[in-house]
């Protein structure tokens, strides 16, 4: 099977890879580039565990082909922290115990980052609807939503809500 050559930017670094036509960006990230932080929960766009930001837009990497990454700028969960310094969203998830098994967490971190980039001051309802594409089976979302609201407040420079 012949492969395509793709040049893209992932987490700030120019990256090249070869992929088969039918391979999704998620397959490429996980299997070719060893970026296994993006998870496969469904491969059908229904769980959000594979969330990445592509040219500023939150997408399910399982619904995007590897070849579509050509020329794009992709951020995965591995690119959210600044070196050893966690992003406020990551820190708030930890402090709020907003993860149990942690399998959905990469997707939620990426989706929350995209939310706060687009809307730094979401209401709880806006946060719940934005994150409705991310399934978590462990937490009942309570602590996730609290972490998101507190991360938003922190990033706006406000005192923590709780």
């Amino acid at each position: 099977m012949s492969k395509h050559h793709v040049t893209t930017t992932i987490n700030g670094e120019e990256t090249e890879f070869l992929c088969e036509t039918q391979e999704t960006l998620l397959d490429v990230l996980r299997n070719t580039l060893n970026l296994t932080g993006s998870k496969e929960g469904c491969a059908s766009g229904d769980c959000g565990a594979c969330s990445v930001i592509a040219d500023g837009t939150l997408v399910c990497s399982c619904l995007m082909l590897g070849v579509e990454a050509e020329g794009k700028t992709i951020t995965t969960v591995e690119g959210i922290a600044d070196g050893e310094t966690l992003h406020p969203v990551q820190r708030q998830f930890l402090e709020h115990a907003a993860l149990q098994c942690g399998f959905c967490t990469p997707g939620f971190i990426v989706a929350t980052k995209a939310l706060l980039d687009a809307n730094p001051d979401p209401t709880e309802e806006e946060a719940r609807y934005w994150l409705a594409g991310n399934l978590c089976r462990c937490t009942g979302y309570d602590k996730i939503i609290r972490a998101v609201m507190d991360a938003a407040a922190e990033m706006r420079g406000e005192a923590r809500a709780a």
């Binding site: 993006s38 496969e40 929960g41 930890l94 115990a97 399934l135 978590c136 937490t139 009942g140 979302y141």
Partner: protein
């Protein structure tokens, strides 16, 4: 966090128990570095793929793998013929008995495919695409047979039989004709006739629940490597790597000692990852090919081929006096086992009336096979199903006699000494306290708006104890390592570190908790049955106490005094009193620095078979609003009180409660397996199998009731499961309160609610 205020009381006297520090394994989980089942790639790994039955029920006439095996890039093709046959016998306690004749047929079909998605062959190849092409080249000849999906239909005398020789167990004399009923159970106390004769009001009703899946977000995945000498390693995401080792070794016919299993991080299990599906297949593919093999399920495979929990058909009848005394209860619980015997119907029978003091009661259960995937454990397996029926009838009775439903429960609450239908008397309190907590909750009396209703319900779960092991090491710099054999699904490393730090009197951050592989720590039973904080926690505290003794002995050597002259206090060895001498206290670091001179490495191991676990009790109420146009039910408020013994890490305890409640909300309102006329699953994906999402829900208020368990060093009780028992009935009761119609069939999805609004009241007795 403001919602931790309710545990402040318990925190008194403890430094770490009752606090909620960040988990030791947290950072890799928010940065994407944590390694789950599918994230491991050994050098030279092949891709495994399983070919599955497209039929609900079919005889396998022949399997020809020759064309697949000849495809370039294919390294191995296997079928059931590669696995040794197993004896037909039920092993282990009846509640969880295993029959390996069934297990080996579930991982790879032999004579027949018994459900759509049943594995029939597997390949290992150099890539996904080659593996898929190879599966397509395997020629399986099927003779399609009539199938049966529904439990009542499977019990009908003319039902298609899954096993031509299945004679119902538990019936005297044994039936002469085979059927799909694997087992009948009966548990009884008192005299039903006398009991019902004393009742002023008796209500009986039938109920149905749908098959629902645990729906962990991580699909099953593993890697296996079996060497030419027969020894091997497995890296797997599971609720118990010791169980994976035992089951895989048995199914492969290899000695347990030849297999080492490493615990990957696990992306949720809820009971569904206590059994094996992939590990023996990956191991056999590796053995046959000589290469490591990675096997991961798609979401569709998870739905079609792994254990959901049983759907059920039930009948419950309860009698009460007009002043609210429950005098008799009777129930029949018919459970789908799926393709092989072993539904959780026994639990359903035992838990059904357990929260209550009812002198005359009976529960009859049927374990029934049908052409669905074999049921696996799901959070308090069985109990939520019978609770839906029992707690609905209690609500009808309360309404009929004009009593508050929580007051009815409080009046009849089981306490220490209350008899049960399963023999031993209740040995713990905790139930009435959960009811009282809700009666005292301001929300319980808050006014409701139009189309809104409030409902309450309770639940019971045994909780587990059993075998657990822990080892502890004090490192050269005074840091401490705690290794256990319990996979961490919900923050248990944090609780283990908390208990170790508390016992040792050192900083939480000084202790690192890890999950060790089967070669590095003693046997530990699965993370399930709400047993880890209780049983593994006890092992951790035992190991810590041994370490403390050893540290005192070493301090005595350093000071040249008797070991009895040394005490351990606040993380330091100190002279026991003025007579013991005037030595400055020694810290862990001080003693660790002299380890070589005092006997070498400072380590201890502890193994327990923990008994004395206390059961879980939960009582919950919720407010709902029903849209009369669409039948959609919106949850406005949910309050869940649970007796947790003592919360070791309150935030993760709350998380267990919130997560269990939301799974219950999904079970109540949306989730169900939908089959078509050919017995094929129509909704094997998250789009059509609708789990709750963030926008469906309010915050879930967890009320931690703490009635400590004296059998645990810090009073802990299992907290993981009982929270899923009450929601279905609480929501049904709230819907009834809102629309005056009783729904008795799950899920209470919009079409059913709308039909109830438009039709006659199903709950004629209410």
């Amino acid at each position: 966090m403001d919602d931790q205020v309710n545990v402040a009381e318990a925190r008194k006297g403890f430094k770490w128990v009752g606090t909620s520090p960040v988990r030791p394994d947290g950072v890799p989980k928010v940065t994407g570095r944590a390694m789950y089942g599918a994230d491991m790639k050994m050098p030279g790994t092949l891709v495994g793929k399983i070919l599955r039955s497209p039929h609900a029920h079919a005889r396998i006439v022949s399997i020809d793998t020759s064309r697949a095996a000849a495809l370039p890039g294919v390294r191995a093709v296997i079928t059931a013929a590669d696995f040794p046959e197993q004896n037909f016998e039920y092993i282990g306690p009846e509640r969880v008995a295993v029959n390996f004749w069934h297990v080996t047929r579930n991982i790879m079909a032999r004579e027949k495919a018994l459900y759509e998605g049943h594995a029939v062959a597997a390949v290992a190849a150099i890539s996904d695409s080659v593996a898929a092409a190879a599966c397509a080249l395997i020629d399986v000849q099927y003779e399609v047979l009539p199938h049966v999906i529904d439990v009542d239909a499977a019990m009908a005398p003319d039902a298609p039989l899954l096993f031509a020789d299945m004679i119902t167990r538990g019936v005297e004399p044994a039936p002469t004709r085979p059927s799909n009923v694997s087992k009948r159970l009966e548990f009884k106390i008192g005299d039903l006739d006398t009991g019902f004769a004393a009742a002023d009001v008796v209500i009986e009703h039938e109920f149905k629940t749908a098959t629902v899946h645990q729906a962990y977000i991580e699909p099953h995945a593993c890697s296996a490597r079996i060497e030419a000498d027969g020894q091997g390693e497995i890296w797997a995401s599971s609720q118990g790597h010791f169980a994976v080792r035992a089951l895989t070794a048995k199914l492969m016919g290899m000695p347990v000692g030849d297999l080492r299993v490493y615990p990957a991080e696990i992306g949720g299990g809820f009971g569904g990852k206590t059994v094996v599906y992939l590990e023996p297949v990956a191991a056999m593919l590796s053995k046959k090919s000589g290469f490591p093999v990675r096997l991961a399920m798609s979401r569709e495979e998870v739905f079609r081929a792994t254990g959901p929990t049983s759907g059920a058909s039930m009948w419950v009848k309860i009698g009460v006096t007009k002043d609210g005394k429950l005098v008799a209860a009777d129930g029949v619980f018919k459970f789908q086992a799926g393709a092989f015997p072993g539904s959780p119907v026994m639990n359903a029978c035992l838990c059904a009336f357990a929260p209550y003091d009812i002198a005359n009661a009976r529960a009859v259960g049927y374990d029934v096979v049908c052409n669905r995937p074999k049921a696996a454990a799901y959070r308090a397996p069985g109990s939520p199903i019978s609770a839906f029926a029992v707690e609905s009838v209690l609500d009808m009775l309360a309404k009929k006699i004009g009593m508050d439903p929580l007051e009815l429960r409080l009046k009849n609450a089981a306490r220490i000494g209350t008899p049960t239908i399963f023999g031993p008397k209740h040995a713990h309190n905790g139930y009435p306290e959960t009811v009282q907590a809700l009666l005292d909750h301001p929300g319980y009396r808050a006014p409701l708006g139009k189309n809104q209703g409030r409902g309450a319900a309770s639940g019971y779960w045994f909780n587990g104890g059993g075998e657990s092991s822990a080892t502890m090491q004090v490192n050269a710099d005074g840091t401490v390592l705690v290794a256990t054999g319990s996979p961490d699904i919900g923050g248990s490393r944090a609780s283990m570190a908390i208990m170790a730090a508390e016992t040792l009197g050192v900083d939480y951050k000084q202790v690192r908790a890890i999950v060790a592989d089967t070669g590095s720590v003693g046997y530990t039973h699965v993370t399930g049955g709400s047993r880890v904080t209780f049983a593994t926690g006890t092992a951790v505290v035992d190991a810590t106490k041994t370490i403390i003794k050893d540290l005192c002995r070493r301090a005595a050597m350093i000071w040249d005094v008797d070991p009895e002259a040394v005490v351990w206090e606040d993380g330091h060895a100190r002279p026991a009193g003025a007579n013991a001498g005037a030595f400055p206290p020694l810290s862990l670091k001080d003693i660790a620095a002299k380890a070589a001179q005092t006997g070498g490495s400072i380590t201890a191991a502890a193994s327990v078979n923990a008994g004395g676990q206390a059961p879980g009790f939960s009582t919950q109420f919720c407010d709902v609003e029903v849209d009369p146009e669409t039948g959609k039910v919106t949850i406005l408020r949910f309050v869940a009180a649970q007796d947790v013994g003592r919360a070791i890490h309150p935030a993760y305890v709350e998380g267990q409660i919130q997560g269990g409640v939301v799974q219950g909300i999904g079970w109540a309102l949306n989730e169900e397996y939908i089959y078509n006329a050919r017995g094929l699953l129509d909704n094997p994906g998250f789009l059509d199998y609708r789990c709750p999402v963030a926008s469906d829900l309010p915050m879930i208020e967890a009320v931690l009731v703490e009635v400590p368990n004296p059998a645990h060093p810090y009073g802990a009780k299992g907290v993981g499961e009982v929270n899923i028992c009450p929601p279905m009935a609480a929501i049904a009761n709230a819907i009834e309160n809102a629309i005056g119609r009783r729904l008795t069939e799950l899920p209470m999805s919009p079409p059913k609610v709308l039909a109830a609004i438009d039709g006659p009241d199903a709950g004629a007795g209410a």
